[in-house]
Amino acid sequence: MSEQTKKWRYGVKRWIVLALFIVGGYAAFGRNTMLRPISPVVVLPAEPISPNSPITNTMLATLIADVVLLLFAFGAYRFHKQGNLVPNGLYNFFETIIEFLWNTVEGATGKWAKRIFPVVATIFLLIFFANVIKLFPGFESIGWMKEAHKAPAYAPVKLFDLGGLPVYTIDKGRPVEVEAHGEEATAAAGAESEHGEAKTEPCHACEVVPFLRGSATDLNFTIALAIIAVVMTQVYGVWALGPSYFSKFFQFGALVNGGIFGLINFGVGFLELILEFAKILSFSFRLFGNIFAGTLLLSIVGALLPIVIPPGLYLFEIFFGIIQAYVFFLLATMFISMALVSHHGDGHGEEHH
């Protein structure tokens, strides 16, 4: 009986997928030009969520990721307060992630794991949730309309009123020439506006500024995490080794009694110092580059061939979001565990497992 039901469901799912392909094909190549996908706007800095707002769309996305993450954490907390040893459902998933991270950190740093774990695990969870949340529909497509300064821009079309607020989309079939001379730009797909109350039309030639944009497509987010990781590496190094931690950067001892090799070692120490700053760069640009490139890839491929391919790319993006979070976490853990042991490997080496 259950076997039959399963087969029946499978059949229905197949038809739903096929129907979605057909709808996608109609939207992309059909006569209704409003639904036609367009090439994305490549904007590096985060944009404000409304004109002259101090809050940017990446900040808002980060806050949403925070809220979801904290909901999970609070659920797990309540679950543990009940004294249950075996969790269920989504909390089990959350716990599995934390257990995996804990095992990795414990394997890398041993008895320091309890002090290091909160920082690196928060890095992982924040990046992980930000990257996964960013893939939900609505991100980078719903926003307010702005007068475009670059070509080509599109004319606005009123769709319907949402509780007194008129909702617009841009008509992709009607490119509008921008008055100001433009270099190159486009507007995102399927836009709404809450801006049209005073004027009948928000803009003449419009582009969409989304309310939500993936946190990791903003360099502020990635650089903040990178700075935290690198600074915490130094903090843990000093915590474990005391002031002698800095001797690995300034090897005056080697310079005084090391001869020519002492000079080389002194130079290497300076290189290490530069490497610490390079870490910030590589941490932040690795995450930013991967996620920003993923977003661009999704929207460009979505504009070129909106059917069949994007679902696979979405799966790919989920995978990359997790991998990048894991790489950031793993590198931070490794750097910290390297900072915990003495540079000369005398005496403190045993702490490292």
Binding site: G107, E183, L281, F285, R286, G289, L330
Partner: protein, 80 residues
């Protein structure tokens, strides 16, 4: 040639694209790291965990080169 602004903009894009050539080395390096990691795991599946960790570390360092190239390209396009 008649519009120096457009010429400079075009050269910027060209320079950014050339900067991204650095990604070639990173790609080769990541591929070699993955190949070596998978071979090592095939030879010694018991050590898969530690090999995987080190492989990802090595890949991250190799990728760092591509990231520097990306940073340079972005700076050329947007900041220079």
């Amino acid at each position: 040639m008649n519009d120096p602004v457009a010429f400079v903009a075009g050269l910027k894009l060209l320079g950014a694209g050339l900067a991204m050539l650095g990604a070639i080395g990173a790609g080769v390096g990541v591929g070699i790291a993955a190949s070596g990691g998978v071979q090592a795991m095939g030879r010694n599946p018991d050590a898969a965990n530690i090999i995987q960790t080190n492989m990802i570390l090595g890949m991250a360092f190799a990728e760092a080169v591509a990231i520097y190239a990306l940073a340079v390209a972005l700076i050329i396009i947007f900041a220079a």
